[in-house]
Symmetry: C2
Subunit: 340 residues, 2 copies
C-alpha cells in the first residue's frame, strides 16, 4: 500500500448557504481491514456531484444526510488491495460508493467490476455511470423525445446535460443546450447540439426563444432558477419536464421572496397539460443493462462524446466541490485520489 494511513474528508459543519472549506475536515485514520466477504480498496477516482450538497444538510430528502463527523458520501473507482471475497482478486478495478477517502473496505456484493480495456475506468463515474444513466433514463422514460421535437437542457457541458442533448439527437430530436460562457457553449455545439445558449448573456431569455422557434417539448430540469424562468414560457402543450436537479437553489436559505410563481406554473401545468416529474435514477435500475449496451455502443461509434474535468488530490475535493455548485467545472468533475 502506498499510504500508511487512510486519508479522508469528513463533514465538519452543516453549511448555511454556500459550503465553505471550513465545512470539511481532512483526517488521517488507520487503514481498515476487510472482514469475510469484503475487500480493501485503494481509491483512484472520486466523483463529485451536485446531489452531495443535499447530503450536507439536515433537511429530509430522498436520502439520509451525512452525519457530522462522518466521511462525505460519493461514488468511487478503486483497486482491490486485499480481498476476502471469492469473486475479487487483488488488482481488480471496481466501482464502489466509498466516499471522500483514500482507502475503504466494501462488501463484495456492493461492487461492480470494471474492465479497464473497455473504457477509461473514470467513465464509470460519468458517462458510463450515474450521471450518464440519469440522462438516459430520465430523458427516455419521462422526457420521451419524439423525432422533430425540441429538447432543452441546462448545464449542457456537464456529464448529465451533455448526454441528454446527444441522446436526444440520436432519437431524432432537436437539442438546445444552455451553458455558462463562450467556451462551454462552443464545446456544446461541437458535441452536435443544434444550438447552445450562454445563460450569462444579458438577453439570455430572448436568445433561448430564438433558438427554439417551435417551442420546447422536453425540458430536462437540472438547474432551476433563472433558466427555468426563461424556459417556462416556451413550453409547448404536452411538454414533459423530467426534474433531476435544482442546483441553482441548493445553497438557498430561508424563504424565497415573492412574487409567488407557483400559481402561474400551476395555471400552465393545467392549460398546457404539462408533465412535471421528479426522479432519482435508481428508480429505473431495471434499465441499466440497456443503458450500458446503448451508451457503450454510442461512445464506440463516436455518436456520443464526453468531457472529464479531473482534479488531482483528495485534499482539493472541497474547493472543487464548492466550484461545482457555481459551475466552475468544465465537464464531469472527478478527483484523482491516488494512483494506488
Amino acid at each position: 500500500m502506498s499510504d500508511a494511513l487512510n486519508r479522508r474528508i469528513v463533514l465538519a459543519a452543516r453549511p448555511n448557504g454556500k459550503p465553505t472549506p471550513d465545512d470539511f475536515r481532512l483526517e488521517e485514520v488507520p487503514i481498515p481491514s476487510p472482514a469475510e466477504g469484503q475487500v480493501l480498496l485503494g481509491i483512484r477516482y472520486l466523483s463529485l456531484d451536485p446531489y452531495m450538497r443535499g447530503r450536507m444538510s439536515a433537511a429530509r430528502s430522498y436520502a439520509k444526510p451525512v452525519e457530522l463527523g462522518a466521511v462525505m458520501e460519493g461514488g468511487t473507482v478503486g483497486r482491490v488491495l486485499a480481498t476476502r471475497h471469492p469473486d475479487f482478486a487483488v488488482g481488480d478495478i471496481v466501482l464502489s460508493h466509498s466516499g471522500w477517502q483514500t482507502h475503504a473496505v466494501a462488501d463484495g456484493a456492493a461492487l461492480r467490476k470494471l474492465d479497464p480495456d473497455a473504457a477509461p475506468v473514470s467513465t464509470a463515474l460519468g458517462v458510463l455511470g450515474m450521471p450518464g444513466f440519469t440522462a438516459y433514463a430520465g430523458l427516455l422514460t419521462i422526457g420521451k423525445p419524439k423525432s422533430g421535437e425540441t429538447v432543452v437542457v441546462a448545464a449542457a457541458s456537464g456529464p448529465v446535460g451533455s448526454a441528454v442533448g446527444q441522446i436526444a439527437r440520436i432519437h431524432g430530436a432537436r437539442a438546445v443546450g444552455i451553458a455558462g460562457g463562450a467556451d462551454k457553449c462552443a464545446f456544446v455545439r461541437d458535441l452536435g447540439f443544434d444550438d447552445a445558449i450562454d445563460h450569462r448573456a444579458p438577453d439570455f431569455a430572448a436568445r433561448l426563444a430564438t433558438a427554439c422557434p417551435n417551442g420546447i417539448d422536453v425540458y430536462f430540469e437540472n438547474v432551476g432558477g433563472a433558466v427555468w424562468d426563461a424556459v417556462f414560457p416556451l413550453l409547448n402543450e404536452f411538454a414533459r419536464i423530467p426534474v433531476c436537479g435544482l442546483i441553482a437553489q441548493y445553497n438557498a436559505t430561508g424563504d424565497f421572496p415573492g412574487p409567488d410563481r407557483l400559481p402561474v406554473v400551476m395555471r400552465d401545468v393545467l392549460s398546457k397539460s404539462l408533465t412535471l416529474r421528479g426522479f432519482i435514477q435508481r428508480e429505473f435500475a431495471d434499465q441499466r443493462p440497456a443503458f450500458y449496451r446503448d451508451m457503450a455502443g454510442w461512445i464506440a461509434s463516436g455518436r456520443l462524446r464526453y468531457r472529464e474535468d479531473i482534479v488531482r488530490g483528495l485534499e482539493n475535493a472541497p474547493e472543487a466541490f464548492i466550484g461545482l455548485l457555481e459551475g466552475r467545472n468544465f465537464g464531469k468533475l472527478v478527483i484523482e485520489v491516488s494512483d494506488n
Copy 2:
C-alpha cells in the same frame, strides 16, 4: 315551440376578478332555422362548470375565449324540435354544446343521442358526462390509485370530486374528501369516502393530516389555493397529482404575493419523485366507451352515487355561476332551461 324567441345570455364584459351580473346580458333574438345536416334544439338543461371562468378572460388558455357579445359557452341537453339530419327525429334527446340559450341549431355530427330510459338525461352533463369522465380518466390514467393507497380530492361533493373518491374506493384505495361545511362533509361521508374534512375549519391542515395517517399517494387537484398548501407536505414519495382545475385562483388578478412557493414545490418534486400532470379530459377521448360502460355499471349497482343541484330558469344562470366559483352549489350545478 314554447317560446317565440331564442333567449340567450351573452358575455357583456370581461370580468376583472370575480364575475358580476353585469358581465352577462340576457338577449332575445329570432329562433334560427336548421340548414341541411342540422337540427333545431330546444335546450332543457345547461351545465355550469368552473372552466367557463377561463373562457370569460382574454388570456390564452387551452381553448379560445368567448368573444364579447357572443353566447356563453356550455354543455347542454336538448330536444330535437326540427330536423334536417337523417339520424335525428323530432323528440330525440341529445347532448350538445349549445351554450347559455333556450334554442340552438347544431350539426347532427356533433350530437350524441341520449336514452331517457337509461338515466335521467341531465346526468349526461354530470356523472355520465364531462365531469364524470374528467374524474375517471384523470384518476385512472394519471393518478393510478393502487389498493391501500390514499387518494385525496377537494370539492368532494361536486361532480368531479365525488366521482374521484368513489372510483378510488372501487379500486381499493382509501378516499379522503375535502368540502366546505358540515352538510357537504356529511354527504361525502355518506357516499362512502373514508373521511371528509371541512376546509373552513380553523385547524383544517391538522385535520387533513390526521385523516391521512399514511400520507397521500394521489392528490386529484381541482381547486389549488389553501387546499394545496395543506396537501403538499403530506404527499408521499412517488405521489401522483392529476391537475384538472384551480378554481381557487380563477378570479385572481395581477401578481401573487410572496413568498415564492415554487422552489419549495420543485424541491419536493425532486426529492419525492412527484408527478404533476395537467390534463383536459378530451385528451383521453379513446377511453370514453370504457367510461360509459364502467360508470353506468357502477351507478346501476349502487356503487357510485351522485348529486345534482338544479336551478330553474336560464335567467338565473349568471348568479348560479358566480356562486359556483365560491362553492355555493351542492352537487353538479345544472340550469333547467325549459321543459321544451
